[in-house]
Amino acid sequence: MSNAPRHSGKEPVAVVGIGQTKHVAARRDVSIAGLVREAAQRALLDAELTWADIDAVVIGKAPDFFEGVMMPELYLADALGAVGKPMLRVHTAGSVGGSTALVAANLVAGRVHGTVLTLAFEKQSESNAMWGLSLPVPFQQPLLAGAGGFFAPHVRAYMRRTGAPDSVGSLVAYKDRRNALKNPFAHLHEHDITLEKVQAAPMLWDPIRYSETCPSSDGACAMVLTDRAGAARSPRPPAWMHGGAMRSEPTMFAGKDFVSPQAGKDCAADVYRQAGISDPRREIDAVEMYVPFSWYEPMWLENLGFAAEGEGWKLTESGVTELDGDLPVNMSGGVLSTNPIGASGMIRFAEAALQVRGQAGEHQVAGARRALGHAYGGGSQFFSMWLVGAQPPTT
């Protein structure tokens, strides 16, 4: 690299390999190392590359308390073929899977490395995430009983603000769980699901029913990202990154809008600017967004600019976000069907890439050219997104 010529502008970034584990409640048959290696090997297989082709590894996961291992990347270096290579560990709360992919993408975009393996995982069965999130901290507002206890009031605020009918949440859950039946890697495969069953489930954190919450999953997701030269060697169509951004805002402050946070709006605007998108509703063909509780679909539709304020629930209610609608959302079944927390953001990014590569199988959106992957975390304060396309970026 010492004589590498200087370039101006960013190197285009391509996704040439994607691998996931079959997400389940508990992978008792593998160690943490076994879990991540499975996803990484599938991504390498997809890219038809070997460990030796990888220049660096970027790994992400949510809090270390979820497995009870501090900085587990140290122990995972061997399993991920990172020995002798650079290894970075990202942690940005629930958005981490997306942020991890973006950090890896920057290594390529900044011409630091040619080909990078990025991976995110969670093995939730090793502990109890809800209580892992609920450790009491002196002089700080408690998160209450896990994430649901934190987010339920914000869902209620959305309902009050928009006048959305109570049924919208159940429609999202019913759609995502049916989409999951078309995704062999999804955790929940509820073959006998009906809308009535979704609506009859017990109330967990009012207004969120048990059927409208994400499961706890063990799973990993990996991607191989590469430069133009690497993409030219790719045996399968790559997905090209057209824009990527992260935004953060404080957890709580006077004037914070928990329903539609400014950081989410700014993050989307940055991605659209990079990708040259002026009308996301028309120009984006499919969306994988981070919806851990059903109502976050209409909320994010507004936050991301797919619907005017107060109108997001109408897209959901009228079937626009169904797999065969004109703006399909969470074709894979989404976080509502699969939630290895630290990996959930990367799964969104990877599923968006699968769509524009035409490799999403039964949950493929016909002719998808541009897709958005979205993740958020913390108290609706950390956002990461990317937009991928079937064609290389023009600028």
Partner: protein, 356 residues
């Protein structure tokens, strides 16, 4: 300006560095309260406001804080409003600096704020660090950080690379240097004391304490506007080794050597090296891997043997090396950071000042 010697195509420099007084305890301060003055210090040094910063990146550990998402409260202290472009690594702040350097390489930002912090005082850090070992085969045995470092020290003694008086010499030199560092936790004449874990004595081990540090990076001409003598990052690289101590030669650090090669450290001699060696024996390993002779000033700050805020001590090495370039005490300095048991993961950066 000299050509780059490693990957990366854009000139990026450390233009400001700040750190806390490092202390055994900081019971009266939250992490945010500990961090805030340091953030204000580097912003004031450059005249920048939070809203002027293009990218922010931090490093910290939930296991030290004893709670999930501990970095979110620190972010509140940064003043992330309007929303900022921001990221976090669950690593020493040196790697947060690396992520920020990569971000500046993409051209998406011209300035970056990097910070890290750690409070070891609320718990038993020796026990806490056992939780970062292989969870199936090693962590259940609770081998603590001093015990593992002692294995490494004994291996060095057995190989004839050092002996106990030489280790005591490293300790004495470091604590003597810290007399000139008002931030250090431990300085002056410190007795070697009794064995903690043979062959390591109290004096061979770092003090346990709390602290924070912050750095500002800037690219190209922006760096010259913000700092009279920027510390240009001529090369920066990091490498990891196998986790299992049984498959490593503990008397050597091939990952440090490789990172140094990639950072261009061997192309020309350095005059200064800030090494992240929490144990005296680890300085022996690093000097060997980095081929540092007696003509190089090693750890003029006193190093991690005089202040070792876990998660920040690596970033402080980069900051201390940069500060010497800023004030003209160094023209070409090497900075090193480490993570993991017995120097498992290592980062090396080469910093230079403009010719005078």
């Amino acid at each position: 300006m000299a050509e780059h010697t490693g990957p990366g195509t854009r000139d990026v420099a450390i233009v400001a560095f700040g750190q806390t007084d490092h202390r055994r305890t900081s019971d009266e301060l939250s992490e945010v309260e500990m961090l805030m003055p340091v953030l204000h210090e580097v912003l004031a040094a450059t005249g920048l406001k939070t809203s002027d910063i293009g990218f922010t990146c931090s490093g910290s550990s939930d296991y030290l804080a004893g709670r999930a998402f501990s970095f979110t409260m620190a972010l509140d202290g940064v003043g992330a409003w309007p929303p900022i472009s921001e990221s976090h690594v669950e690593m020493d702040g040196a790697w947060a600096l690396y992520e920020a350097w990569v971000k500046l390489q993409t051209g998406e930002a011209d300035t970056a704020l990097v910070y890290s912090y750690g409070k070891s005082s609320p718990g038993s850090v020796r026990d806490v660090l056992t939780r970062q070992l292989d969870p199936y085969y090693l962590a259940p045995l609770w081998p603590d950080s001093v015990a593992l470092a002692a294995l490494q020290a004994q291996a060095l003694i057995d190989a004839g690379d050092t002996d106990e008086p030489a280790l005591a010499g490293v300790a004495a030199r470091s604590r003597d240097a810290a007399r000139a560092n008002s931030r250090a936790q431990l300085g002056g004449s410190v007795p070697q004391g009794d064995y903690v874990v043979r062959p390591l004595r109290t004096g061979d081990c770092p003090p346990i304490g709390d602290g924070a540090a912050a750095v500002i990076l800037a690219a190209g001409e922006r760096a010259r506007e913000l700092c009279a003598r920027p510390a240009w990052i001529r090369g920066i690289d990091h490498r990891i080794e196998a986790h299992s101590l049984g498959v490593r030669d503990l008397t050597d650090s091939p990952s440090t050597r490789l990172a140094a090669e990639r950072a261009g450290a061997f192309l020309r001699p350095v005059d200064t090296a800030e090494l992240h060696a929490p144990f005296t024996s680890q300085e022996i390993v690093l000097r060997k891997a980095l081929r540092l002779g007696d003509e190089v000033t090693v750890n003029p700050s006193g190093g991690a043997l005089t202040a070792n805020p876990v998660m920040a001590a690596g970033l402080i090495r980069l900051g201390e090396a940069a500060a010497r370039v800023h004030r003209g005490a160094s023209d070409r300095a090497l900075a090193h950071a480490t993570s993991g048991p017995c120097l498992q993961q290592n980062l090396v950066a080469v910093l230079e000042g403009d010719p005078r």
